[in-house]
Structures are given as structure tokens and as C-alpha cells.
């Protein structure tokens, strides 16, 4: 399919363990994985199998124990971080949809999305325009001035999705984005992620337990006790 292109995410022999001795947990064991532009990948596995850990390591939030990570052609980790400005890298290339939505309680839905654009250097009006568009598309356009405290779980999750996609990232990492949504809205989110993959030449990784959306993925990987396998 897209094998002739260069991978956007390329991982080699990546391991991550927490703690030492008695309490040591091997969350990821020797994982290698290439993901290409326009791909939407599903990541499945039982609770505690290392799915969130893998996403966080790819998003340069969590430091692996050893291995290599290459993002968009740039080797960012080779047994140590090679890039000092990881935050700048995230702002520019990575969109996160967190398992807990992590919205700013003191910002309205609109501003929660616009803040990313503001950080990326958009003008205030351009940021609001783009934020409004995304929220509209995700069917929370009627809640733009509401604060996270008054949003339902599903609404909050859709605002968080809008925030993750605001800066047109080429790498989208989504941790259970549809968990709080009904199947119709879950479908809308998956359509959006697919559209992002095509329009922005992006790679999308979605962690999920949601069987309704299994048929939306190009490829599905399974994690079990930190080991990766493909189906």
C-alpha cells in the first residue's frame, strides 16, 4: 500500500521497564515497528499490557530504557534523547489524545483548542476560526464557550480530539479516543482521523478496546506483556 514511502514513525528494538528488582515491570520488550503516512493503526491489548506506555514513548513523553525512535525522518532517540527540545517537537509534529482528556479547567472549549494554535504562533482570530471549525465538525460547536467542568465525558473527549488535531500534526497518538462515545460519534471520530491521515499525510495510532471500530484500521497490532504481534 504505502510501502514505497519512508516511515513517519520508525521504532527499533525499543524496551521500557519501570522499577528494579522485585518491583521491575517490563512494560515494553524489544519492540520494532514502522508506520507510514496515511496509515491508521489500531493498538489492542489487555489492561496493563503497555499500550499507553508505547504511545507515550513514541510521543517523547516517557523516556525508553533502550532502542531507537525515528520520527518523520529525524532520529530522536538512540539509547538516549538526541533532541533537547522535545516540547518543540511535540508542538510541531505530534497530536495527543489522552486517555484522561486533560483539558484546562480554566479555559473554555474554544480556548482549550485555540491555546495550541496560539503556542504555535497563529494569530488570535485565526486560532479561534480554526478551533471553531474543528469543534463544529466534532459536533460540539454548541459548547464552544462552556468550560470543561460542565461538559459531558463524550463532549470533553471530542474537545480534546479537536485540540490534538488543531496544529495539523503529522503524527496522531490517540489513547482510547472513542471510549466515552456512542457508535455514531465514534464513527465520526474515526472518519475524522482517517481524513487527517489522508489530508495531512499523517500516521495515526489508536489504542482501543472498542470492537465497533476494528474494521476502520489499516493494520491492527496486539500488545501482551510488553510484546508486540501483528494480526
Amino acid at each position: 500500500m504505502t510501502e514505497n514511502k519512508k516511515p513517519l514513525i520508525s521504532i527499533k528494538n525499543l524496551s521500557k521497564h519501570f522499577g528494579e528488582g522485585e518491583t521491575r515491570v517490563d512494560a515494553l520488550r524489544d519492540i520494532s515497528l514502522d508506520i507510514f503516512p496515511e496509515q491508521v493503526i489500531g493498538l489492542l491489548g489487555p489492561s496493563g499490557s503497555g499500550k499507553s506506555t508505547l504511545l507515550n514513548v513514541i510521543g517523547c513523553i516517557l523516556e525508553p530504557t533502550c532502542g531507537q525512535i525515528e520520527l518523520d525522518g529525524e532520529l530522536v532517540y538512540n539509547d538516549r534523547w538526541l533532541r533537547s527540545d522535545l516540547r518543540g517537537l511535540r508542538l510541531e509534529k505530534v497530536g495527543f489524545i489522552f486517555q484522561a482528556h486533560n483539558l484546562m479547567p480554566f479555559l473554555s472549549s474554544m480556548d482549550n483548542v485555540a491555546v495550541v494554535l496560539d503556542l504555535a504562533g497563529y494569530s488570535a482570530s485565526a486560532a479561534r476560526a480554526r478551533a471553531g471549525e474543528l469543534l463544529e465538525y466534532l459536533e460540539v460547536g454548541n459548547r464552544v464557550e462552556a468550560f470543561p467542568g460542565s461538559l459531558s465525558g463524550g463532549e470533553a473527549q471530542r474537545v480534546a480530539i479537536a485540540r490534538a488535531l488543531a496544529n495539523k500534526p503529522r503524527i496522531v497518538l490517540a489513547d482510547e479516543p472513542t471510549a466515552a462515545l456512542d457508535s455514531e460519534r465514534a464513527g465520526i471520530v474515526m472518519d475524522l482521523l482517517r481524513k487527517v491521515a489522508i489530508d495531512q499525510q499523517a500516521a495515526v495510532i489508536v489504542v482501543t478496546h472498542d470492537e465497533k471500530i476494528y474494521d476502520r484500521f489499516d493494520q491492527i497490532f496486539h500488545l501482551r506483556d510488553g510484546l508486540l504481534s501483528q494480526t
Binding site: 516540547r87 508542538l91 495527543f96 489522552f98 486533560n102 480554566f106 479555559l107 491555546v115 495550541v116
Partner: protein, 378 residues
């Protein structure tokens, strides 16, 4: 997008309550400084009002305010004869306690010879003393009005005029009497033993005709220092210029109070600094998850530092403004005078800004250290 402002607006009530608490603290600091300034102003007020160029007092004393001083009344004539002296006056000073309308009233009795130096600077109502007995002019802060009677020692006095700006360094409002009346009052109130001695007659030479000080004004081109030197050559007298008298008052009379208040103000400022630091740290800890999220989505450090420092400054300055407003509006309710000077206010505002910046360091340090992964927990 200003995150500091958004956060404050979203938690406006809590923020204002914090500011209010801080304002009380800073208001107290401001009041302390005002009390200190008031003390100095009070201490110097009488010297300023009397406005004498030269003060002649008993040798070996720093009178007449810091220490008691007694010199013969006729010293006045000798001083008047010095070249360059334009006018002179003999004055007595004495604190007494009396009653008015059943309330205790502390007064500062100033005796002077009507027509000579030492009297009230302005008469705001009524008239000045003429030389008749048992009349008095009072500072309006005594609360007495023209026509009122007041008992001092054995005699009753009628208020014939009021004046302003006449308060002793201890804060007692002045009552002006004729020198004769004031001397009689002094005699009435002196210890009974001395009184008996004197009544038997001729025990202490000139003892009833003594005054606290002789004051003089000099002509504009005269050298006050030379006049002081001339008087110091006489046996029993000490002389000082107006500046020296002022210095004695600020140094000896208010020195202890000044150290006390200075110390207290320093402690208050320290306490404010600790409290501000704690508040800022708590505000930061309350937002630690949001700060971690900001790092997750790629916000640079300056955004996070800005969030904390701007809130700290806003809190400090709003608290200061509210405190200043509060003290400014209740200053007249203080029993002693509060002198609020713009420069003192500005300096304290500067101190508050510095405290806020220093206090933010701890919060900023905590915020910058936090691992972005912390936002993902829970």
C-alpha cells in the same frame, strides 16, 4: 492568549479572597509606616510651629522636650541683647492630665508671654491671649471649643481661641496659657514638700520665676552658630539651633519607638513574604496537572513561568492597592496621627513586587521540574 488572566477569571472569587487577605496584611505594613511617619511629624510639629532659630536651655540638659530644663526667666533679656537676635520669648512646657466632660484629657501646657515669641502660630477661631489671667488658647484636637471652661490645678480657665498644628512629641494637644498662669500651675502641681519649702519663702533663689527655655529669632543675615557659641560661653546655659533641637527630638524622643516600629515593620514584611510564597506555591500546586499538560502539548517554559509570575504580581499589586485604599480611608480612625507619604507607598509597592518575584522562584522551580508524564496519571 494570557493563561494567567484566564485562570484568575475562572477562579475569580477565590483569587479576590486571597487578594483581600493579603491586602489586610499589606495594609497593616502601610499603617505601621504611617504610624512611624506620624510619630516623627508629631515629634517635630511643635518645634516647627514655634519656629525659633535658637533654643536656650539649662546647661547639661537636652531640653526642653527630651529632658526637663529650668533657667531664670530674665535670661531672655541677656539673649535679646546679643547682636543678630531679632526677637525673644520665654516659654514653659508641661504635660498634665485633667478632665473634660467626665473624660480624661492629657494636655501639653505651653506658657508664653503674650506679645512675645512662643505663642500659637495661627488663631483659627476666637482670639489670642491678651495677658489677662485664666484664659487659654487650645489646639483644635483637644476637642474643646471657645467658651468652654477647663480646670487646671486649682484654677479654671476659659478657652478664648483655637489653633492648629500644636501637638507635643508624645501626641498630646497643646493648651497655651500666659506665662504667669503656667508658672503658677507648675507650682501648684509640684511635689508638696517643695511647695512647703517655697511657701516658707526664699529657699531657692528665683525658683518661682524659672522657665523651660528661652527662644529667639535672628535676623536673616546673622550667624546662628555664632550666637549659639556666644550663649554657650555663659555659665549655666546650653544653646542649640532649630535643626539641633529637631535632631534631639527625632533621636531621643522617638528613637526607641522608631526601632520598635522599624523592627515590627521588618517582621511584618518578612511574614508577608513567607505568606505570599506559600500562596504562590499552593496556587502552582493546584495547577500542577494543567502545567504538566501544557508541557505535554508543547508549551515552552516561558509560558509556564509567565503563568505563575503574572499571577503572583497581580496578586501582590491588587492586594497592595486594596490595602492602601483601606488604610487611606480609615486613617482618621487611628488614635494617633498616620502620615501616608506617596514615596513610602511607592517603596512598599516596590518591595511587594520584589517579594512576589522572589516568592515565585519556588513555585516556578516546582513547575519547571514537574514531569509532563504526570499529567497522564489518573
Amino acid at each position: 492568549m494570557n493563561l494567567a488572566y484566564r485562570d484568575v477569571r475562572h477562579n475569580f472569587g477565590r483569587f479576590m479572597v486571597t487578594c483581600l487577605g493579603l491586602s489586610l496584611l499589606l495594609g497593616v505594613v502601610l499603617a505601621m509606616i504611617g504610624i512611624y511617619r506620624g510619630l516623627i511629624a508629631d515629634a517635630l510639629e511643635l518645634v516647627d510651629t514655634i519656629d525659633a532659630d535658637i533654643w536656650v536651655v539649662e546647661k547639661g540638659t537636652r531640653g526642653p522636650f527630651a529632658e526637663s530644663s529650668r533657667i531664670p526667666r530674665d535670661t531672655r533679656e541677656s539673649v535679646a541683647r546679643i547682636f543678630g537676635v531679632k526677637s525673644v520669648g520665654a516659654v514653659t512646657f508641661q504635660s498634665i492630665e485633667t478632665e473634660s466632660d467626665g473624660k480624661k484629657l492629657r494636655l501639653y501646657v505651653i506658657g508664653y508671654e503674650p506679645g512675645q515669641l512662643g505663642g500659637p502660630k495661627y488663631i483659627t477661631e476666637g482670639r489670642g491671649l491678651t495677658g489677662r489671667n485664666f484664659e487659654a488658647v487650645v489646639d483644635s484636637r483637644t476637642g474643646l471649643d471657645i467658651g468652654d471652661h477647663i480646670q487646671l490645678g486649682r484654677n479654671g480657665f476659659t478657652i478664648v481661641g483655637t489653633t492648629v498644628n500644636a501637638v507635643s512629641s508624645g501626641g498630646e494637644p497643646a493648651i497655651y496659657l500666659s506665662l504667669d498662669d503656667a508658672q503658677k500651675l507648675q507650682f501648684d502641681l509640684s511635689p508638696s514638700a517643695t511647695r512647703r519649702e517655697r511657701a516658707r519663702g526664699a529657699v531657692v533663689v528665683n525658683s518661682t520665676d524659672t522657665v523651660s527655655a528661652v527662644i529667639a529669632r535672628t535676623s536673616p543675615n546673622a550667624s546662628n552658630d555664632n550666637i549659639v557659641k556666644t550663649i554657650e560661653r555663659w555659665k549655666h546655659f546650653a544653646a542649640m539651633t532649630e535643626e539641633e533641637q529637631g535632631l534631639i527630638l527625632t533621636q531621643s524622643v522617638v528613637e526607641k519607638a522608631r526601632k520598635q516600629i522599624g523592627m515590627f515593620t521588618a517582621i511584618l514584611i518578612l511574614v508577608s513574604a513567607v505568606i505570599i510564597a506559600l500562596i504562590i506555591h499552593t496556587m502552582t500546586m493546584d495547577k500542577i496537572r494543567e502545567i504538566a499538560t501544557l508541557k505535554l502539548i508543547g508549551a515552552p517554559d516561558r509560558v509556564i513561568i509567565g503563568l505563575i509570575v503574572q499571577q503572583a504580581l497581580a496578586m501582590g499589586l491588587i492586594g497592595f492597592a486594596m490595602g492602601g485604599f483601606l488604610i487611606f480611608n480609615i486613617q482618621d480612625f487611628f488614635p494617633k496621627r498616620l502620615v501616608l507619604q506617596p514615596m513610602d507607598g511607592l517603596s512598599l509597592a516596590g518591595v511587594v513586587v520584589v517579594i512576589c518575584l522572589l516568592s515565585s522562584i519556588y513555585g516556578v522551580y516546582t513547575a519547571l521540574k514537574v514531569d509532563p508524564a504526570k499529567a497522564l496519571a489518573g
